[in-house]
C-alpha cells in the first residue's frame, strides 16, 4: 500500500474528480464554486487579495516556481501612457502546456474549467485588470471546447462581462486564444508575442511583462494550475493552504506521472511528497522491475538516478538535489531503458523546438541532438563527451530565454550520472542495449 497519508477530501483542485459533471457550473456552484470570487469582489481590495495570496506561499505551477503574490504585486497601480491616459492591464493564463511529461493543465481545463475562470476573476480584481486571455496550446481542441463552454456558462450567469456579479462598473471578461504548435510559447514573453499575432520568440527582459506585456501594456502571466489554486486560498484561508506545504511553498501539486509505472496519471498530493512514495502511489515500477532514473519536473529537469530518488518533490528540496520541480511532470524509467537513447530523444525535441532567435541555442541544440544521435548509433568518439560539456557551457545563461538552460538539463545530467553507458556505446561502437533486446527476442 501507499505510504502517502493524504485523504482525497484534502485535495484542493481535484477533490471531486470522481464525480462526472465537475465541468458544469451547476456542479461547481454546488461545491462552493464562485463563493470566493463573490467575496473578493464585494469585500476585499486588490491589495488585500495580493496579501492573502502572498501569505499562502503559492508558487507558480508552470515551471519556475515564482511566488505568485509577489508577481501580482509587481503590477503597476495606475499605469498611464505618455499623454496621461490610463493604460489597460492584461491578465494572461498560460495554458500552452508543452513540457514533455506534463498533462495536468489538460485535466483542469477538461474537468474543472470554472475553477480556472474563478481564479482569473479573483486575479483580475487583485491586479486591476478587466481583460483576461487564456492561451491554450493549439492541439488541445477538447480543452478549448470545454473552456469555451465554461466561459459561456459564466457569462450567462453574469460572472463574466459587464457589471459582473451585479456590481455596477465592475467589468471582467475572458477570451480564449488558440496557439499553433510551438513549445517555446510556454515561455511567457514568447506567449505574449504569439498572442499579438507574431512569431513566438521570447523577448529580452527587462522590461518585464508587468511593465511592458501584452500589446505593450502591463500584463501578468500565470499558469492554469496556479489560477485554479486561488479560489481555495480565498475561501478556506491562506493559512490552511500554506500549512499543506513546506515553509516556502504552500498547497498541493498536480503531479503528472508517466513512463514505467503501473498506474500513470495525474495525482494531487502535498507539494513535498517523497518521490519514492509517489512512484509507489502509482503502483510502483511497471512489471516489478528495478528503477533506473527519474526526470522529476518535465523534460528540462536534470535526471535523478535511482539512488537519488529519496527526495521531497518541492521546489527547494529538488533544487538542493541538483534538479528542479519544474512543471510537475515525473517521467519514470526502469532498468531496461538505454539512457543514451532516452537523452538522444530528448535532445531531438529541443532541436525541433528551439525558436532559432539566439545562435547559441539554435546551433547548440542542433549540434547536441546530432552528437547524441551519433553516440547512440555507434559513431561517438571519446572526445565527444567533453565537447558536449563545452557546448552546454556556451549555451546556458547566454541566451534571451531559459530554453538553452533547459537543453543542458538532460544533456549534462545524463552524461554526468550515466557516463559509463555513454563510454560503453563509444567503446563498442553500438548501443549495447539494442543488442540485448534482439537477443531477448530471439530467445522468446
Amino acid at each position: 500500500m501507499s505510504a502517502i497519508n493524504f485523504p482525497n477530501e484534502n485535495r484542493i483542485i481535484t477533490k471531486h474528480l470522481e464525480k462526472p459533471d465537475t465541468h458544469l457550473i451547476g456542479h461547481y456552484e454546488s461545491v462552493d464554486g464562485y463563493v470566493a470570487a463573490k467575496r473578493v469582489l464585494n469585500e476585499m481590495s486588490g491589495d488585500g487579495v495580493v496579501d492573502e495570496v502572498k501569505k499562502s506561499n503559492l508558487r507558480g505551477r508552470g515551471g519556475a516556481g515564482f511566488p505568485t503574490g509577489m508577481k501580482w504585486s509587481f503590477m503597476p497601480k495606475d499605469p498611464k501612457d505618455a499623454k496621461g491616459n490610463p493604460k489597460p492591464k492584461y491578465l494572461v493564463c498560460n495554458a500552452d502546456e508543452g513540457e514533455p511529461g506534463t498533462f495536468k493543465d489538460s485535466l483542469i481545463m477538461n474537468r474543472f474549467p470554472h475553477m480556472l475562470i474563478e481564479g482569473m476573476i479573483i486575479a483580475g480584481h487583485a491586479i486591476g485588470s478587466e481583460v483576461g486571455y487564456i492561451y491554450v496550446r493549439g492541439e488541445y481542441v477538447k480543452e478549448i471546447i470545454s473552456v469555451e463552454k465554461a466561459i459561456d456558462e459564466a457569462r450567462a450567469k453574469g460572472y463574466l462581462g459587464k457589471d459582473i456579479f451585479g456590481i455596477k462598473g465592475k467589468n471582467f471578461d475572458i477570451f480564449l486564444y488558440r496557439g499553433a504548435g510551438a513549445y517555446i510559447c510556454g515561455e511567457e514573453t514568447a506567449l505574449l508575442n504569439s498572442l499579438e499575432g507574431k512569431r513566438g520568440e521570447p523577448r529580452l527582459k527587462p522590461p518585464f511583462p508587468a511593465q511592458v506585456g501584452a500589446f505593450g501594456m502591463p500584463s501578468c502571466v500565470n499558469n492554469v494550475e496556479t489560477f485554479a489554486s486561488v479560489p481555495f486560498i480565498i475561501r478556506e484561508g491562506a493559512a490552511k493552504f500554506a500549512a499543506m506545504g513546506t515553509e516556502k511553498a504552500g498547497g498541493t501539486r498536480l503531479f503528472c506521472v508517466s513512463g514505467h509505472v503501473e498506474r500513470p496519471g495525474v495525482y494531487e498530493l502535498p507539494i513535498n511528497v517523497n518521490l519514492l512514495d509517489l512512484i509507489e502511489h502509482c503502483g510502483g515500477v511497471r512489471g516489478g522491475r528495478a528503477l533506473k532514473a527519474v526526470i522529476p519536473g518535465g523534460a528540462s529537469a536534470p535526471m535523478l538516478t535511482a539512488s537519488e530518488c529519496n527526495v521531497a518533490m518541492d521546489f527547494d528540496s529538488l533544487a538542493k538535489a541538483g534538479t528542479m520541480a519544474g512543471s510537475g511532470g515525473v517521467i519514470v524509467m526502469d532498468e531496461t531503458v538505454c539512457i543514451v537513447e532516452a537523452a538522444s530523444i530528448l535532445l531531438k525535441f529541443y532541436e525541433h523546438e528551439s525558436c532559432g532567435q539566439c545562435s547559441q541555442c539554435r546551433e547548440g541544440s542542433h549540434w547536441l541532438a546530432r552528437m547524441f544521435h551519433r553516440i547512440e548509433n555507434g559513431g561517438g568518439t571519446s572526445a565527444d563527451l567533453d565537447f558536449i560539456s563545452e557546448i552546454c557551457g556556451n549555451m546556458a545563461g547566454q541566451t534571451i530565454c531559459a530554453f538553452a538552460d533547459a537543453v543542458t538539463g538532460p544533456a549534462l545530467s545524463s552524461i554526468k550520472k550515466f557516463r559509463h553507458e555513454f563510454e560503453e556505446h563509444i567503446r563498442l561502437g553500438r548501443c549495447p542495449h539494442k543488442h540485448v533486446l534482439v537477443a531477448q527476442q530471439v530467445e522468446a
Binding site: 508543452g98 504548435g181 496519471g265 525535441f349
Partner: protein, 179 residues
C-alpha cells in the same frame, strides 16, 4: 480563392477581443486551415490583405508554427508522438507499423490522398501514452493491436461519407460571444 464570408464573419465577431488587428492573424490562419486543410501562398496573400499586414509578417508566422500545414495534407492527418513518455511505451513500434501499412515515411502523404503521416513532439497526454492524433482527436493508450483496429476502422470510414469528418470536432474556434 478569396476568403469566404464565413471566415470574414468569424473574424469580425472576435475583432473586439483584441486591441490590435494583427492579433487576429493566428485565429484567421486556423480558420483558413479548417476550411481548406492547409495554408497556401495565396492564403497568405489574402490574410495579409484582410489584416492590412505586410506579407512577410504573415509568412514569418505561418512558417514558425508547426500546426500550419504549408502543403496539402491527406484527408486524415496522423500525428504520432515519439517523445520520451510515448517512446518509453513503445511509440517506435507504432511508427514502424504505420510506415509499413501506409507505405510512406514521416511527412509524406499516401498516393490516394487519404493519409498523411507525421512524427510530432509531446502532445501532453503522457499519462495515456502512446498517443496518436487523428486530425483533431487524440487516440490514447495505443498498442499495435489497437492501432491496427483503429486503422481498419479509418479505412472503412474513408470509403463512406464519414471519411470527411474523421477526428474533426464541431467548429468551436475562433468565435465571438454568443448572440
Amino acid at each position: 480563392m478569396a476568403l469566404s464570408d464565413q471566415i470574414k464573419n468569424k473574424m469580425e465577431a472576435i475583432r473586439y477581443q483584441f486591441p490590435t488587428e494583427q492579433a487576429l492573424l493566428i485565429p484567421l490562419l486556423h480558420a483558413i486551415q479548417k476550411e481548406r486543410g492547409w495554408i497556401s501562398k495565396e492564403a497568405m496573400v489574402e490574410s495579409a490583405e484582410f489584416l492590412h499586414l505586410p506579407l512577410a509578417k504573415v509568412q514569418e508566422v505561418v512558417t514558425f508554427y508547426t500546426m500550419f500545414n504549408q502543403e496539402p495534407v491527406g484527408k486524415v492527418h496522423l500525428q504520432l508522438c515519439t517523445n520520451i513518455s510515448c517512446w518509453l511505451n513503445g511509440s517506435e513500434k507504432l511508427l514502424h507499423c504505420l510506415e509499413k501499412r501506409l507505405n510512406v515515411g514521416c511527412g509524406e502523404t499516401t498516393k490516394d490522398g487519404n493519409y498523411t503521416l507525421s512524427e510530432v513532439e509531446c502532445l501532453c497526454a503522457c499519462g495515456t501514452a502512446p498517443v496518436l492524433q487523428v486530425n483533431d482527436e487524440y487516440y490514447e493508450n495505443l498498442s499495435e493491436v489497437k492501432l491496427t483496429q483503429l486503422m481498419d476502422e479509418l479505412d472503412a470510414k474513408l470509403k463512406t461519407s464519414e471519411g470527411n469528418v474523421i477526428g474533426k470536432y464541431v467548429d468551436s474556434y475562433p468565435r465571438g460571444p454568443k448572440a
